[in-house]
């Protein structure tokens, strides 16, 4: 099946089976490798992308359910003011250890800051607890979110 897709503001097309998860369409068909595969069962958050601005787990989102929703991935989040602030904070505070979870962390953090521009510790804990970091860079992730929240957009 051919699926027209709006990805990071670009109109693209993918010819894949209807049950193919968005994750694999992004990675293997459209060659956008930033979105990562961790668990395949909506547990780890490594595959987080936005559909019309809402975070979803792309590993369990079949392409047939994407419809005409706008897809935003880590490759495109830098054009968003909050996304750019977070990417900057991630670099300054040297958040990544292995870095594998970080695309998902940043995508999740963007939606956290949209909801709570100045999040409390508790809000960060609740908002980010479904994104695993196996390296456990959690202290830095939290600091970077707080740092970004303090920056003017």
């Amino acid at each position: 099946m051919k699926y027209p897709l709006k990805v990071n503001g670009q109109q693209l097309e993918a010819d894949v089976d209807a049950d193919t998860p968005l994750l694999w369409v992004l990675r293997d068909t459209l060659k956008l490798k930033g979105t990562k595969f961790g668990c395949g069962m909506a547990q780890c958050g490594a595959c987080t992308v936005h559909l019309d601005g809402e975070p979803v787990r792309s590993c369990v989102t079949p392409i047939s359910r994407v419809g005409d929703k706008a897809i935003t991935t880590i490759e495109g989040i830098g054009t968003d003011a909050i996304g750019a602030k977070l990417q900057q904070a991630w670099k300054i505070l040297d958040v990544p250890q292995c870095g594998y979870c970080q695309a998902g962390q940043i995508m999740q953090a963007v939606s956290l800051l949209r909801q709570f521009p100045k999040p409390t510790e508790q809000q960060i804990g609740d908002g980010m607890k479904r994104n695993f970091c196996r390296c456990a860079a959690y202290h830095r992730i939290k600091q970077a979110i707080q740092h970004a929240a303090e920056q003017e957009a």
């Binding site: 894949v16 089976d17 049950d19 193919t20 998860p21 694999w24 293997d28 068909t29 060659k31 956008l32 490798k33 930033g34 979105t35 990562k36 595969f37 961790g38 668990c39 395949g40 069962m41 547990q43 780890c44 490594a46 991935t73 880590i74 490759e75 830098g78 990417q87 991630w90 670099k91 300054i92 040297d94 958040v95 990544p96 250890q97 292995c98 870095g99 594998y100 979870c101 970080q102 695309a103 940043i106 960060i124 804990g125 609740d126 980010m128 607890k129 479904r130 994104n131 695993f132 970091c133 196996r134 390296c135 456990a136 860079a137 959690y138 202290h139 830095r140 992730i141 939290k142």
Partner: protein, 723 residues
Amino acid sequence: MQIANPQRRRFLQASAALGGGFLLSLYLPPWRQANAAETDDMAHLSAHIRIHSSGMIEIMSVIPEIGQSIKTSLTMVIADELDADWANVIVETAPLDSATYGRQSAGGSRSIPSHFDQHRRIGAAAKQMLIAAAAQQWQVPASECRASNSRVLHQASGRSKTYGELAAAAAKLDAPTLDKVTLKKPSEFTLIGKFTTGVDNDAIVTGQPLFGIDVDLPDMLYAVFHKCQVFGGKVRRSNVAQIAKLPGVRHAFVVDGVDDFQGISSGIAIVADSWWQAEKARRQLEVEWDEGWAKQQNSPSFDQQAEQLWQQPPAATLSREGDVTQGFSECSKVIEAEYRYPFIAHGQLEPNNCTAVWQQHKLTMWVPSQAPDRGRRQVADALNINEDDITVHVTRMGGGFGRRLFNDYMVEAAWIAKQAQAPVKLLWNRQDDFQHDYYRPGGYHKFKAGLDANGQLHAFSDHFVSFGHNGRPLLAASMHASEFPIGFVPHLQYGSSLIAAQIPTGWLRAPTSNAMGFVFQCMLDEVAHAAGQDPLAFQLALLRRSDAKPANGFAPQRMAAVLERVGQLSGWGKTLPKGQGKGIACYYSHAGYFAEVVHASVDAKGAISIEKVWAVGDVGQFIVNPSGAQHQVQGSILEGLSQALYQKVEIDGGAQVSNYHQHKLLTMDAVPPVEVEFLPSDNPTTGLGEPALPPVIPALCNALFVATGKRVRQLPIKPEMFA
């Protein structure tokens, strides 16, 4: 740095760079390479630096990057001694060539100790040549010149030249001998000791391809490899012929496999146009397995066998000092306790994968491997080809933790690519990863400790029940004979017995120590409480015993220093409200000394909260990159807490874990603050990937004892025990 032959020299070579500049590289002259007898030493002579006429400086990263920040920290060491402007530095991943670069595997916290001094010298030698080139051009003594920020300066005349301008001339000079070069004084460091951000951060936060899973080749096919859930099971019959006809599937075939857990396993390979098609086809597989001996093994029977083995004397003696039988008879108080811990998995976030191209009897591979040179050997053995016919590119990897010291997935990818005669990316799913790991082995310890009339530890014994095959312990399932408190108690005996098992086991961050820290440091805490002594005071007194005979390079004064400091930092000794407690523990591993305190609380329902962790470490003279160092300590500590609170792999033939919900990780809402301090000492600088992990588990359990009066003697901790 050891140089066997004092005449051995390192050479700098000039050559044309791509784009017309010149390269200045430290290299090994061909006649040295030809001399096989010198192979070992050649390992330290290398091609780490290239300076382009544009001023750009390329520095090679020689160790695989798994998140330990080595790609940043080791290149900082060269750049610092070179006086390179870090802003001009580009870090490249070195080719896999251990003859040129020395040890190129990431494990054992050994990258810093094995490369730190050598990297300083390589940077300093190149700087010395650049200074000599400038001095020659200006006709002034080299001693009047100095280097700073990628420039050589002559103060008296006010002249200066950039490294880019000097590189070609410098490359024509005789190179200094590495062990004769002058190193900076620590006060002159510009990078070492400074918070430095990761060289790949830009690519990471913008989602650029970096990891093994991101490799993409023209006409690449995607593979899955389906193995038996029972360890070592073999394909007997399958519907593989039907699978081969499913949409997108190009190849489907049975691999017979070998019996060795390090070799190729029996299984079914499915190669398709997309990974999703391969994975979907796999769901329709019907396989009859020959499950073999391993089918009968399971965790409850292991527990029973351990109990039975404890009824008998240990099958083997690991160490003996004095006479424990007599020692115990002289004690006024004897404490006995049994400790247990489970098998656990690595669960690194990037599932195992490898991309391979087979072309005209040669292989090219892209692999996230911590030990790629060993992987190349394994592939050569499995495919019966020459190692020289295998080119290996090492990618950044989404975590290692010891899992990728094993290269089973690399062998599988090579095998499948050869059979498919096409570029193939093999990717495991999460269940494959949890069910075909090399697990941290479980274990059982039966301790006995005796106190003399003065409350001093007088006798100590451990009967360690572990796992083995053909009478030999499984990999990483043995115990060091030198485990503390050996040397600090007059009568001591360690013995072991083995339970027969067929389980792939291996190294997990701080191998053996991650379990030994728990059992020994909890047991010593029990002894301290039984003696009516403060656990910190008790451990300090033990370490300072005048009759101590420390073994294995263990320096008790270094451990005492980190213990005392963590006591100060954590406010040790202050009374806490009911339901709260602080626990302390220390452990020496990978040449590093760590002491940690955990503050925990337990509510009326038994729920555990970790309020805070303090860690003090002594890893020698320098902390190369404080950012990476803090990451490693905090990461190790949170990993230890995840193990203590959640992790267990139940065995029933194979591993009964399919995803993270059965092998949990600490998440953002439960992360305590972790305060880290380093106590620099006048000792060689060593690595930080591992030594901070072992003490946190016993420190937590010891804190829970203070909070509740109940002893955790089995991992993972069951909160029900506190309800």
